[in-house]
């Protein structure tokens, strides 16, 4: 896998380049095809030239009836070449359609590649929190679809942190302790708040890791909850 380290911006930029180059190539190819088509299709005079050549090359084609016949032949040829011109227009329109289709296909392809890269990045960056639900009744915090049971004290801490985040506030350890215990901030110690955070981290972190990484299957044992293809021991 070459070039593992790419940012989304890089991908987008190179994607645009690929699209531009691809469109240029497609349009170029079809222009060449169109020009080839127009050049190789016999022009309206081809039949006349052929009839003229026959007339010149055969010395005994001299009677009036024969000459008249040759003229009629040339005229019907000219009529047919009009039909050919019609075909040419049709083919050209089809070519334009083909161009549009190819361009659309290319754009979609590049979009697909971009999305794949983005997906890979999301996978690599680990857990991405789409929703956090704090349920006080159940003493549970829901991260995305995973639920984590917490103690009352931890629930308090999580709730306070969530509310502070909603208000875009930062809380010091002493402030956390003050809100939970209901005492004045000046009476509270920074260490008490820090301990609460530590307990929350431990409790939540343990459950998170056990959910995401080290699964405990009841009465059977422990297992890494990852695909075995991605494991590499150096």
């Amino acid at each position: 896998m070459p070039d593992l380290i790419t940012s989304a911006t890089d991908a987008r930029r190179s994607g645009t380049r690929i699209v531009a180059a691809g469109i240029a190539v497609i349009v170029g190819l079809l222009v060449i095809a169109g020009v080839g088509l127009f050049v190789t299709l016999p022009d309206a005079n081809a039949f006349n030239a052929k009839v003229e050549q026959i007339f010149v090359e055969n010395d005994d084609l001299t009677s009036q009836a024969e000459v008249k016949l040759l003229e009629i032949l040339a005229q019907s040829g000219t009529a047919f070449s009009d039909t050919l011109a019609g075909y040419r227009t049709t083919i050209f329109v089809l070519l334009v359609f083909a161009t549009a289709m190819l361009v659309a296909a290319l754009v979609f392809l590049v979009m697909l590649v971009g999305l794949n890269r983005r997906m890979a990045q999301i996978e690599r960056s680990g857990i991405q929190v789409n929703s956090l639900i704090v349920s006080r009744e159940e003493n549970t915090v829901y991260l995305n679809t995973m639920g984590f049971k917490l103690t009352d004290a931890m629930m308090e801490t999580v709730s306070i942190l969530a509310e502070a985040r909603l208000d875009d506030e930062l809380l010091s350890g002493a402030q956390i302790e003050a809100i939970i215990s209901g005492r004045l901030e000046s009476d509270c110690e920074e260490a008490a708040g820090a301990t609460r955070i530590k307990r929350l981290r431990d409790g939540l972190g343990n459950q998170l890791v056990s959910e995401l990484l080290i699964k405990n299957i009841a009465r059977r044992g422990y297992m890494l909850a990852i695909d075995k293809d991605v494991i590499e021991v150096l």
Binding site: Q64, L70, E71, Q75
Partner: protein, 94 residues
């Protein structure tokens, strides 16, 4: 008698001249858009060769709006009759 002699003399002198002048060429010509073709017979004034006939006919036909394609052959009086039918309206026209 004298008249007969004079006329004979006249014929004698004029014969080679007429024989030299009686040169004809049959040719093929065309007009473009729409393509029209014709086969014709024309008298040639200069030397009785195909190249000279082509040169003469080219200018004459050009004036009438035709393009000379080729000169089939040059011939004298004896060849006129057999080509009269084929040439049709273009018999000695240009």
């Amino acid at each position: 008698m004298k008249r007969v002699f004079y006329s004979l003399l006249f014929v004698l002198f004029s014969l080679p001249v007429t024989a030299q002048a009686a040169c004809y060429a049959d040719y093929k010509a065309k007009q473009d858009a729409p393509l029209r073709l014709h086969y014709g017979v024309a008298q040639i004034n200069g030397p009785c060769t195909a190249s000279n006939a082509a040169r003469e006919l080219q200018t004459r036909l050009q004036q009438a709006g035709w393009t000379l394609l080729n000169v089939v052959s040059v011939f004298d009086d004896s060849g006129l009759a057999e080509r009269k039918d084929s040439a049709g309206p273009h018999y000695l026209r240009y």
